[in-house]
């Protein structure tokens, strides 16, 4: 078993004091940038690229991997505590996580996120070690038609989270899809109102922060005088037996969603978090708890985003294919050391690759060790008096939006969408369908455009790939099942009426 020996050797190399220090700096820095909306791991890594001039390749890559994993984790902390997701992959975490925090269960939410991330990251890295070379050659065969089908399946699944009122659910979904339309698509500006500032569309993190954090701050501010303050109860500091029992299955299922999507070149980290959320909601013993702080809704998505981070490294290490912005910068780091990236990396640089893989395990453990004891401490943040807390959230959200490009226009967008968030709370529109619309809409369109452009407009290309066909069959079967169920209940109702 060659891989195992190589991995052990990797651990040996990674366990030098210098490399451990770099891993430590990496995860700390990663957590810090994950916390701040606007600054993501990709940008941090790019800014740190100059260290490749002076630092050993292994140490630099170990630090970079730490930042990557740390960023995936850090985004969840602010999602849970402040309803302000730092990264697009932790947007879904905010939905249940922040509700848990308000119910005095912030420590549990943070803990299940930390342990779930650890479990998923470790399993993901293990899968990476085992399958990277074999998996990578398969994933490039998936083309735009398959992705389009997968995204369609995801959009179809949205109907499960529309909420009690279909009308409100669809309204929110279509507002989301409309926000997703903004930007330049295939060279044509759309809904940009002639401003190049809108040409790249509106970032999903900005939308999420505005709808969640700004919308809520405005809502709270508008009710502060009328209603006595709810005191956020101080809960237990650790996860109970029951919490563990409810968390472990979502962790595993989240990993199962996250890893393959991460390994797919156009998979991404957002889609699996949201699919994991929906699955947990469907499978939960107490579905009514969802929307009021269900721990499953934090455990699943958090596991999914970390597993997808591990999955991303499959095409990167096995084929030199960067599939996310962060992976692209890691590739640049390889190149600036003059290391040939590409299909031969495992063979040409075995020591470096396996040291990197070993350091992923170490980074993951470090994250757990650092974050778990901090969970109860962070949870105390919520005891700050409400006006100060929300002032802090507003400051934090604005800073994040402004720091991307240092222009006031981004603050304006934040405020406008924040007002939309306030209106949605006022009229009882659910926020999840909107967020999903913003995520899925542009990607659905991009894949459809690509598929049809390649086939010169021949629609049959959409079912030309086996994966696409399988997905359509699943959608069809589910539809039939739903319609069949509906007919049966209708028939049963009719019979009752007849016999009555």
């Amino acid at each position: 078993m060659g891989s195992f020996d190589l991995l052990m050797q990797g651990f040996e190399n990674a366990f030098t004091p210098t490399n451990l220090l770099y891993a430590c700096i990496g995860v700390l820095l990663g957590t810090a940038v994950g916390v701040l909306p606007g600054i993501g791991p990709a940008m941090t890594l790019a800014l740190l690229l100059p260290i490749t001039y002076s630092v050993e390749p292994a140490s630099a890559l170990i630090m970079f991997a730490g930042i990557y994993y740390g960023g995936m984790y850090g985004g969840s902390t602010t999602s849970i505590l402040l309803n302000t997701p730092g990264e697009s992959s932790s947007v879904v975490t905010a939905i249940e996580g922040n509700k848990m925090a308000k119910a005095g269960r912030a420590a549990q939410a943070l803990a299940t996120a930390a342990i779930g991330s650890f479990v998923a990251g470790t399993i993901g890295t293990l899968l990476l070690v085992l399958f990277a070379p074999k998996l990578a050659t398969e994933v490039v065969k998936l083309g735009a038609p398959s992705y389009f089908a997968l995204l369609l399946l995801a959009l179809f699944a949205v109907t499960a989270v529309l909420g009690s009122s279909r009308l409100r659910g669809f309204t929110a979904l279509f507002i989301g899809l409309a926000i997703g339309l903004v930007g330049t698509s295939t060279g044509q500006p759309r809904l940009t109102f002639g401003s190049p500032l809108l040409a790249d569309g509106i970032d999903i993190v900005v939308v999420a922060v505005a709808i969640f954090a700004i919308g809520e701050a405005l809502w709270v501010a508008s009710h502060l005088r009328r209603r006595p303050l709810d005191i956020i109860p101080v809960g237990q500091p650790w996860m109970s037996r029951d919490d563990w029992g409810r968390s472990w299955k979502p962790w595993l299922r989240g990993t199962a969603f996250g890893f393959p999507f991460g390994a797919l070149p156009a998979g991404g980290a957002e889609l699996p978090t949201f699919l994991s959320y929906i699955t947990e909601r469907k499978l939960a013993k107490n579905p009514e708890e969802f929307g009021h702080g269900a721990i499953e809704g934090v455990a699943g998505p958090e596991a999914a985003n970390n597993a997808s981070a591990a999955g991303t490294l499959v095409p990167l290490l096995a084929m030199g294919l960067p599939t996310t912005a962060t992976a692209a910068v890691i590739l640049l780091a390889f190149q600036s050391y003059g290391i040939e990236t590409g299909p031969g990396l495992f063979d040409s640089q075995p020591i470096l690759v396996w040291t990197l893989l070993a350091s992923l395990f170490i980074g993951n453990t470090l994250l757990l060790v650092l974050n778990l004891p901090l969970a109860p401490v962070w949870a105390k943040l919520l005891q700050i008096p409400r006006p100060y807390l929300y002032a802090g959230i507003l400051f934090f959200a604005s800073l994040g939006a402004y720091s991307v490009n240092f222009q006031w226009f981004d603050l304006l967008i934040l405020l406008v969408i924040g007002l939309l968030g306030l209106a949605m709370r006022r009229f009882g529109l659910p926020v999840l369908p909107l967020i999903i619309g913003v995520i899925l809409g542009p990607r659905l369109e991009a894949q459809l455009t690509e598929a049809l452009a390649i086939s010169s407009g021949d629609v049959s290309t959409l079912w030309s790939e086996p994966v696409a066909v399988i997905v359509y069959v699943i959608i069809g079967a589910t539809l039939l099942f739903i319609v069949g169920n509906g007919l049966r209940t209708m028939a049963a109702n009719n019979r009752k009426q007849v016999s009555a």
């Binding site: 916390v35 600054i39 790019a46 083309g143 190049p196 640049l332 390649i454």
Partner: protein, 331 residues
């Protein structure tokens, strides 16, 4: 320590972490004196960290700081619309004596496709720094073995060849195949071009044989080219590249030379003295060993011209790109 105070201590920690991240993001540390020979300058970069302009811009400032040619640079990434936002901001900074911006061929076209009037020729030209060649890349099992094969098939049925590039319409990977098509007598409008979001997705599409030909700078594909899973039919420059075994377009019988380039602009309306200062600064930078090392390290081709010569080149490029995009109905 009361719990309230501990909360405050934690808050201070958060604020510290945030400010650390902010410092990291802006890199706005200033150093050096303010005397005339050592001005403090701002370097604007019209795309995100890690992108092409970013690598070139940061390499140049790094070299200038190392060689103590000027005061410390403040680097700002101005994102948006493939550089249009940054270009607009540069023109708005009319008369600012402390700003330079890295840009390149991609920004020239982006301004048109984004319907902006911020033409690159309105700014003050300082220097063109480097060139990058474009390459025609095909998957291992492609029926095209030479440029001739491709040209024959393409001419016979323009719609039968799908071309993919790593830049959006108006960018170098898009302009290159359009000008190539025109050279061999195909209407640019008939070219089937798929825009991918950078080199990664483009490589995926090539390896998965979703497209027939990829147009891009070859450096991002070195690993796949060396290992044989991708092949280069030709490179677009006047001369062959050292590290890639492929002929130029001219050698392959297509009379065309195309280069993606990057250079430095200053805002319009700056004083002659500042303009001369900046040109001299980049001339000095060009002479350093550090810059020559950067060229080698990044595989960039030295293409240094300054001032009016660069200005004339910019004007010619602007017109050429505009003509191509107008034919496509994109400008």
């Amino acid at each position: 320590m009361t719990s309230r105070r501990r909360v405050h201590a934690r808050l201070a920690g958060v604020i510290l972490a945030v400010s650390a991240a902010m410092v990291l993001a802006s890199c706005g540390v200033t150093r050096g004196s303010d005397d005339e020979g050592h001005r403090r300058l701002q370097m604007w970069i019209p795309n995100s960290p890690g992108g092409g302009y970013d690598l070139t811009g940061r390499a140049a400032t790094h070299v200038m700081e190392d060689a103590d040619l000027t005061g410390r640079f403040e680097i700002t990434n101005v994102l948006g619309a493939s550089g249009t936002v940054a270009m607009q901001r540069l023109l708005n900074a009319e008369g600012s004596n402390d700003v330079v911006m890295t840009m390149g061929l991609g920004v020239v076209g982006a301004v048109y496709t984004n319907e902006s009037s911020a033409r690159v020729s309105k700014a003050t030209p300082i220097a063109r720094l480097i060139e990058d060649q474009e390459a025609l890349i095909v998957p291992k099992d492609s029926p095209f073995k030479t440029v001739e094969d491709l040209v024959d098939a393409w001419k016979k049925d323009p719609k039968s060849v799908t071309i993919g590039g790593g830049s959006s319409p108006g960018g170098p990977d898009h302009i290159f195949p359009m000008q190539l098509a025109k050279t061999i007598g195909i209407q640019p409008k008939q070219v089937k071009y798929i825009a991918y979001d950078g080199g990664g997705p483009l490589t995926t599409a090539l390896l998965g044989e979703k497209i027939d030909v990829g147009t891009s700078g070859p450096s991002e594909f070195e690993g796949q080219i060396k290992d044989g899973s991708l092949r280069v039919l030709a490179v677009s420059g006047a001369e062959r590249l050292d590290n890639i075994d492929a002929p130029t377009l001219k050698e392959s019988g297509v009379d065309m030379v195309f280069a993606n380039w990057r250079g430095v602009l200053a805002p319009p309306g700056i004083s002659d003295e500042t303009r001369d200062y900046l040109i001299t600064l980049f001339e000095d930078m060009h002479k350093t060993k550090g810059w020559q090392a950067e060229l080698k390290r990044n595989g960039w081709i030295d293409a240094f011209i300054t001032g009016d010569e660069f200005g004339a080149f910019l004007k010619e490029q602007d017109e050429r790109v505009a003509t191509t995009l107008k034919e496509l109905g994109l400008a």
